[in-house]
């Protein structure tokens, strides 16, 4: 399965991104890593180009929320993205807040899977569960 990944916005925290690429590869995904500092259009363009099944966005520096608000509008401009699994993880707010308030908010922005300060492997395990459920 194909995954497009990267770190959204002006965020340059690259360490998790490098590890994500390693982990996805180890789990057998085909990875297209756009790296840090990636804008929403670039993500969607890459999904379209590669025909990816999953878009896995990271955000570490707190920018995610600003960008996520524009997802629905932007996504509506693309065709055939209805089956795209959208997931996001990292530090999803500036400052701190708990998952109970963050997760519903991001689901509302259009994400299927939301991981605020959750360990990468836990997140990827959940992704695999999710895919299994869906394909049943």
């Amino acid at each position: 399965m194909k995954v497009v990944t990267g770190v959204v916005g002006n965020d340059i925290h690259v360490v998790a991104n490098r590890l994500i690429e390693l982990s996805l590869n180890a789990r057998g995904f085909e990875v297209f890593n756009l790296g840090v500092n990636t804008y929403l259009e670039e993500f969607f363009d890459a999904v379209v180009e590669t025909g990816a099944d999953i878009l896995l966005i990271s955000s570490l520096n707190g920018e995610a929320e600003g960008w996520s608000r524009e997802i629905k509008l932007l996504k509506s401009k693309y065709k055939n993205l209805d089956n795209l699994v959208m997931m996001i993880g990292g530090n999803l707010v500036v400052g701190s807040a708990d998952a109970d308030t963050i997760v519903p908010k991001y689901k509302n922005y259009g994400f299927d899977l939301v991981f605020h300060q959750v360990d990468l492997n836990t997140g990827l395990d959940t992704l695999e569960e999710f895919l299994k459920e869906r394909d049943k």
């Binding site: 002006n10 340059i12 500092n37 920018e63 500036v94 300060q117």
Partner: protein, 454 residues
């Protein structure tokens, strides 16, 4: 009109900028209180200066933060800039600042200095009458630094390499050198009016397994590029490596070599200070543990003999720290510095020699680049991988060097890429590590090594 003046005009022709009154700014700097100059404090105060990190979007919140810091007996106030301003995106910064002001929710991860303008900000700076250090991460910081100095901020962190390789993916490196040349000149010019403006390099880089030799070479080069332009007070810096001994060795070597290289270009009259960053890598989420880590960093900084320490907070892993947490670190750090006495004198001659040889070899390779100016030599050396920073997100960086930790958690180079590590040193580095493992285990070790403080 001089070239510098022309450049100035261009930078200022920007709808988000204060209308600059340079004559007034010069007058202000000339008569500014010595207390605002960290260079003055370095000269007159014997203890390690304590500086936290911190920046909030609104004037009000930044002011409140400073009040907390002063209450906690801070030595140097920080002003951390938001990430939009760092990318010169003043429009977004403006929008987010308005949202933050209207809704009492922070929509920026720092203080948008350009949008606030120097007239306002100066009120805050002079009100507290403490030295302020500007922390940004901006490749093109020309406007930002003009605004900062006009505000009374007389310490400027950063540099063309240290604010680019860890902080940017695409920004053109050659431009960064030129923009920073401007910054150095401005700092040098203003330094003639009163106490010197202090420039500080950002030694932590990516804070992730960067080997001492790379850090020191970059510190020395940014120092030379700054002194060349006439800066008279410069701070080299580095962050906790994860091995106490490696920190102490690094401190000794960087002190010795910064003096040496400054003298080489006849700038022995400049003051060189040493700044230590508390652990800059991934923090534990357990906040009590984070405090242990922070305290340990303070102890090591003392053993390194740093002139200034830059602090973290117990909330590092969770998000932008509250002002309470931030002030608490300052008070705790001051307390620890007060009770930590009887520091032993530690010299590790072998490690120092190895590291010194490595630095000299890389520096020589840089100097041997055929380009005409130092900045072009440095540019070429980064481009061709003579300087290679692990975990840099920047496209120009080679990413060929591989480092891991040895049994004592020293960072060691096990793949050197194009970096001219002398054979003897490279053999020594590798000899400290267990390299019989397969690649997968080594990758797992690296992941583990990134998380050693967690």
């Amino acid at each position: 009109m001089s070239l510098l003046q022309e450049e100035r005009k261009i930078i200022l022709s920007n709808e988000y900028v204060d209308n600059f009154d340079f004559a007034e700014v010069e007058e202000f700097v000339k008569n500014a209180s010595k207390d605002l100059f960290i260079s003055h404090h370095f000269k007159t105060i014997d203890k390690m200066l304590v500086q936290p990190r911190g920046g909030f979007p609104t004037y009000k919140k930044q002011f409140a933060l400073n009040e907390f810091f002063v209450e906690a007996n801070v030595d140097v106030l920080p002003l951390t800039i938001d990430s939009n301003t760092r990318l010169n995106d003043y429009a977004t910064a403006k929008k987010m600042l308005r949202l933050s002001e209207e809704n009492d929710v922070d929509m920026l991860n720092g203080y948008p200095l350009v949008n606030h303008g120097y007239r306002n900000t100066r009120k805050m700076v002079t009100h507290f009458n403490k030295p302020v250090s500007l922390r940004h991460g901006t490749p093109d910081a020309r406007l930002l630094i003009e605004t900062a100095i006009a505000s009374g901020i007389f310490e400027i962190e950063g540099g063309p390499i240290t604010y680019l390789l860890p902080y940017s993916k695409n920004f053109p490196l050659d431009k960064a050198f030129l923009y920073w040349k401007y910054v150095e000149k401005i700092c040098a010019n203003y330094s003639k009016l009163n106490e010197p403006i202090n420039r500080e390099s950002f030694g932590p880089l990516t804070a992730t397994l960067v080997p001492p030799a790379i850090t020191i070479v970059i510190q020395l080069l940014e120092m030379l590029l700054s002194l060349e332009e006439g800066v008279k007070s410069f701070s080299v810096s580095f962050s906790q490596t994860g091995s106490m001994n490696q920190d102490i060795v690094m401190g000794a070597v960087i002190r010795k070599l910064s003096k040496h290289y400054a003298e080489q270009i006849n700038c022995g009259d400049a003051t060189i200070n040493l700044v230590y960053h508390q652990w800059m890598g991934a923090f534990p989420t357990n906040k009590d543990f984070a405090e242990q880590l922070i305290n340990m960093s303070t102890v090591i900084a003392s053993m390194v003999g740093a002139d200034k320490i830059i602090t973290k907070t117990r909330e590092e892993a969770s998000g932008i720290p509250t002002k309470e947490a931030n002030a608490k670190t300052v008070a705790n750090t001051q307390y620890t510095l007060g009770i930590l006495n009887g520091l032993p004198n530690i010299v590790d001659a072998e490690e120092e020699e190895i590291l010194t040889l490595e630095v000299h070899a890389i520096m020589e390779a840089v100097f041997n680049d055929p380009a005409d100016t130092l900045w072009r030599k440095v540019f070429n050396s980064i481009k061709n991988g003579i300087i290679d920073v692990p975990f840099s997100p920047h496209i120009i960086n080679h990413n060929e060097m591989i480092t891991i930790r040895d049994a004592k958690k020293n960072i060691r180079i096990i793949k050197k890429g194009n970096v001219p590590i002398p054979d003897r040193c490279f053999e020594y580095e590798k000899a400290q590590c267990d390299l019989t493992k397969d690649t997968t285990s080594i990758v797992n070790d690296i992941i583990h090594d990134i998380g050693i403080m967690q």
